[in-house]
Symmetry: C2
Subunit: 689 residues, 2 copies
């Protein structure tokens, strides 16, 4: 409230689009000048370094932040759902009951969770360009991928030589405009420290998801372990309990998953017709099957929670993305922008390679239309869904790829990528046969529906069996639910896979040649020309617009700037903060608006004016979940867990008037830990101001 002058200044400035809080900036190209002009804040290199070191990538698709010198990591409750599910069973439901380790010995390992902290960014564009040479065809595409694998290999070998193993990853930005090696410190032992009850973490459920005002206590704590001991993490974020004031400038560090802001109009049209259109219909049907499955009984309802939440979340996201791409004004603006860029590029003779890129992209997509569904079903896994079937596909593919020299492998099976893959595959995870049957039946039925009964791959998959009959038999007979069996096949390689009589593995093996063929077709007819065209487009864009732009999101570390600020909609002003009293007012006692007993009992002793959730103008998307919201002094002032409904269109463009990030307020987390859960030891470990 003390910052109203700043807010007023922002509102004035916001009229100029160049100064909007747009952008997911890399740490090595942060627009310090723009931030200084807009907010009067000097973002110094030591601030950037410290924030980078305190920001964690959770490999499942989230972000976290280090909040103590002993490896404590703050992230969203919804980012640890899979772990809660894994550690639960019919007798203990952590998603429902929450979890608090009474001491460090009681912290429980999340077997499949992995984390990375970015330590170094190294540009390698010249090396990649030199290796690829001229040409835009399939061969150049192969050379590019081999070059990236070699660079990663050399990078990791170098760290090993220094006795300090790191993970290196190749990062392609601006669709190939620039190439980097990102050097990560990797953590493979993460343990669950604290999670509230699902009912308060995800209060309002799918109904309130992406809405605001909002009351979600969407936070959890993990701890990084190294050699069985809590990791030492000197760069951590202190908490500013009072949070940031309305209008105050804040930063969000994290790993936005992907955006499509640099895509051409033809790509956006392809996206809405094929990518979103086909996926949405299948996902909506699967959701229906899940919900009816849940209605069959309490245990089914518990089991389905794991897959249902991400599905409903993705449905809401993609449905609103579709709405953006169907919006006439949005598309008209993109078309206009593209016409302007094309004209500018056409005006410079030296940009001729860029000028033909649009037509090349259209041609590649025209080709892709002819086999998009086959590619999605056979190579991208839509035909064989469920954890067991996914394991079968992975084992088959990994065995074949691991038999090749590193450089010749598909990039997700290079030596550098294997450790994470292996850990995920071999982690013990509960298997629910009825759920597996549902998912495999569904995916086989869709395979028939999308490719038709006369497709050779469909005949190969089904023989003369109906999808449900086949799926039931395979799930009942396969041994892939046993981690030891999976380990045996992984270690045994191609011989073990080919000799196995496991019927689900056999199905994956039978479909593998079809999958590889459609993959090859995709790489040669779509990926290669698209990549070449995008690279030329990036060069043309740099030439016309300069390099003061940010690249599309790629689940790599980014920093966004903005301010705590509500928005105006339908003639109403949406205030930036909610307070605890609203949580109680909204609780009906019925899911998803039911509060855990602990919260009902605590009500009388809590300060109901405590800030709960709040919104900021920061430009974030999925993958930023769990991101710290940070003030100018580098203190944690919030925990991002969502965007408002308008922010979903952010995949394709940022609208400063409407897009908002949604975060949990530190005061709510401190109150919960101290007064609801009695987690005094954790409060002592956190550095709270």
């Amino acid at each position: 409230m003390h910052k109203m002058p700043i807010l007023a200044a922002i509102l004035l400035l916001a009229a100029g689009p160049a100064l909007a809080d747009e952008g997911m900036w890399t740490f090595d190209n942060f627009p310090r000048q723009a931030v200084r002009e807009r907010y009067g804040i000097d973002v110094r290199q030591d601030w950037l370094d410290r924030v980078r070191q305190a920001t964690v990538r959770l490999e499942g698709g989230c972000t976290g932040s280090v909040v103590s010198p002993a490896g404590l990591v703050l992230t969203n409750h919804h980012c640890v759902r899979q772990c809660l599910q894994e550690l639960s069973g019919p007798a203990r439901d952590l998603q429902d009951a929450g979890f608090l380790a009474r001491d460090r010995a009681a912290e429980e390992r999340c077997a499949a969770v992995q984390a990375s902290i970015l330590e170094r960014i190294e540009e390698v564009t010249p090396a990649v360009r030199a290796a690829v040479g001229d040409g835009a065809g399939p061969a150049a595409n192969e050379r590019r991928k081999a070059a990236l694998t070699r660079l990663v290999e050399a990078c990791e070998a170098d760290w090993r030589r220094r006795g300090d193993p790191h993970a290196c990853e190749a990062v392609t930005l601006y669709g190939g405009g620039q190439y980097f090696l990102y050097h990560y410190r990797r953590y493979t032992d993460l343990r669950l420290v604290f999670a509230p009850e699902g009912e308060v973490a995800f209060f309002g459920g799918d109904i309130d998801n992406f809405q605001f005002p909002r009351w979600n206590l969407d936070f959890a704590l993990l701890r990084l372990y190294v050699d069985g001991q809590p990791a030492r993490t000197p760069d951590f974020l202190r908490w500013r309990r009072a949070g940031a004031a309305a209008g105050e400038a804040v930063f969000v560090a994290g790993h936005p998953g992907s955006t499509q802001r640099l895509q051409t109009v033809a790509q956006l049209q392809f996206e809405r017709e094929f990518v979103l259109g086909h996926w949405l219909l299948r996902a909506a049907e699967l959701r229906g099957r899940y919900l009816q499955f849940a209605a069959e009984g309490a245990e089914h309802a518990r089991i389905i929670e794991g897959p249902l939440f991400p599905l409903e979340n993705a449905l809401k996201v993609r449905r609103n993305q579709m709405a953006t791409l169907l919006d006439h004004d949005f598309m008209a603006a993109r078309e206009k922008e593209e016409r302007a860029l094309r004209a500018a590029v056409a005006a410079q003779a030296r940009l001729k390679p860029g000028a033909v890129a649009w037509a090349d992209i259209e041609a590649a997509l025209a080709s892709y239309r002819g086999f998009y569904d086959r590619h999605v079903f056979l190579e991208r896994g839509a035909a064989l869904q469920g954890d067991l079937a996914a394991a079968a596909r992975l084992l088959v593919r990994a065995a074949a790829e691991r038999a090749k020299p590193d450089e010749a492998r598909q990039r997700q099976f290079t030596e550098a990528a294997l450790p994470l893959l292996r850990q995920e595959l071999l982690a013990p995870q509960p298997v629910y046969p009825e759920l597996e049957i549902l998912r495999l039946t569904f995916s086989l039925e869709k395979l028939v529906e999308y490719l038709g009964v006369d497709d050779p791959a469909v005949r190969l998959a089904l023989g003369r069996e109906a999808p449900r009959t086949l799926a039931t038999r395979l799930v009942r007979e396969t041994r892939l639910g046993d981690p030891a069996f999976r380990a045996q096949l992984w270690e045994g390689g191609q011989a073990a896979v080919e000799q196995s009589r496991d019927p689900l593995l056999a199905l994956a093996l039978r479909l593998e040649p079809e999958a590889q063929a459609v993959r090859r077709r995709y790489e040669d007819q779509v990926e290669a020309p698209l990549h070449a065209a995008e690279e030329r487009l990036a060069a043309a864009r740099f030439a016309v617009r300069g390099t003061a732009t940010y690249p599309d999101a790629t689940f790599t570390l980014r920093l966004s700037y903005g301010a705590v600020q509500g928005w105006r909609e339908g003639g109403r002003e949406i205030a930036p903060f909610t307070t605890l009293d609203g949580l109680y007012a909204r609780a009906t006692g019925q899911p998803p608006f039911r509060l855990p007993a602990r919260w009902l009992q605590a009500r009388d002793r809590l300060n109901l004016d405590t800030p709960f959730d709040f919104v900021t103008t920061n430009d974030i998307v999925g993958g930023n979940s769990g991101s710290p919201v940070i003030d100018a002094r580098g203190r944690l002032v919030g925990l991002a867990f969502d965007g408002n409904i308008h922010s979903i269109g952010g995949d394709y463009g940022y609208d400063a008037a409407l897009n908002r990030a949604v975060a949990v307020h530190p005061a709510a987390m401190v109150l919960a830990l101290g007064e609801v859960y009695g987690a005094q030891a954790l409060l002592r470990e956190l550095a709270i101001e």
Copy 2:
């Protein structure tokens, strides 16, 4: 095969779009000249009259044709599915087993089925214009509707005075360019005579639906009864067993349901974003719930067949309609066409009212965006699904409307409309509580999802109960499954409805004010300006393009012309006929490719070269199901039951190169009746050449 010269001629002519086989023509404006030029056939008035008299509208949304002097009606198996379901129970499954009445006394009544034969077309445009007068606002809209009700009333009174009661219906064509009264002879007693097993009628199921080559024996026979006796129908179609040759000209008479070919680009954009977009996602989810419900056991699988078939059919239709509206080339062509029309209209000062119509339409749709979902849920029934809930809504609304003078009623509740409504409502139909719970739960859950928990109607509907709890309680407690109880409420009118303590009725009553309010808003802010704009657009279009065009489909009688002809796709030629051997080749023994025992046993004695299904270039859409395909001499040469996948885009435009109607061949029906089902008496009754 003897007609190749004709086919060649067609292919040559097809290059000129003006001569494509496009159009669903009214019988009073049939393009006889165009047909003479294209096919050398003179379609005479007596031919038109006889075909009109022999074509039946099935009020559930299908067409049939009279095929004997004793009221025998040929239609599709899928048009009698609901009747098969009604006449089935756990002990007798007619959908599965088929049905053949051993004699007329054994023909079983389909309680909810009604039919109409069009006897007279009377234009009333001047009368409507005079009654409406000037102005385009809500009041003019009300005057128009009242005028139509008065005209219908007077028409029916006139027939009654002549001692020959007919049903009159107001028909609006060209979006208000012309108004008509259609005079029908109505049949309310239809009985089931014959239906094959569902497996052969819908061979290939949803997978092969809208595909070709195809092998569906999608036919059934009903009989019209009057005063308990078979109706006398002197105008009937003789069968030409050999069918029409490839390339031969054929006609399809029937009742295409609706098309959107005259809609503006803004309307098409609204259609894809809201109408199709929102519906598709909900329908796909409901399909998933149905399929999982079916997986729970054999009786559930049987029960679900009734609602599942129309849902999957509609999903396939709308999904492909969406693909058409997402197709860049299609939309670009529509935009170009619209620009040309706008330029032509703008060039004539006297067409100024038409020139502003486009902007008026955009403004009306902009307003509709703001409450489209509320309208669909509260007034169009999306919030309260299931047979019981539909009955509750209908009873509540009918009671209030019937208390008003005829002219002031909503048009679906005028005196003229009541008999059909009442018959449908009071027909005894099996009620499956578990299915009703599923449907009501689903619709209440979607209500919350689409309108949000804070909408007053949502609070009114749910109180503090969760959707499933509420739905379960209402279905268990309501008595609306009892036809006698429904009759009592219908006869008792408003007092009976308001005094009833039936909880489902009470819910509908509680939501009624919200439904009426959003209806009023729709009528005033959307319907009135849209109708006024479309009327002016129609006038402008007539002025620019003349009247030699056909109106959009409105489930009224139309005639289309075309020829038996395959098509070319992906470099392949699709032949126009399939033969019986293909049916056996495609049978895997697994649903939906399983043949009934009777067909497997008969195989050796059947001529496997018998034509089975075939395609024609006729321009048809849903509602044409069951339509007779007729040759130049007025003989039945096929039974339309489907279009190919391209024809689905026909809702928005006809593509002569790809759109095809799919029909059952008469030889297949004759063979089935005689050699598979032993229906000799029926064969004798039919006039087969």
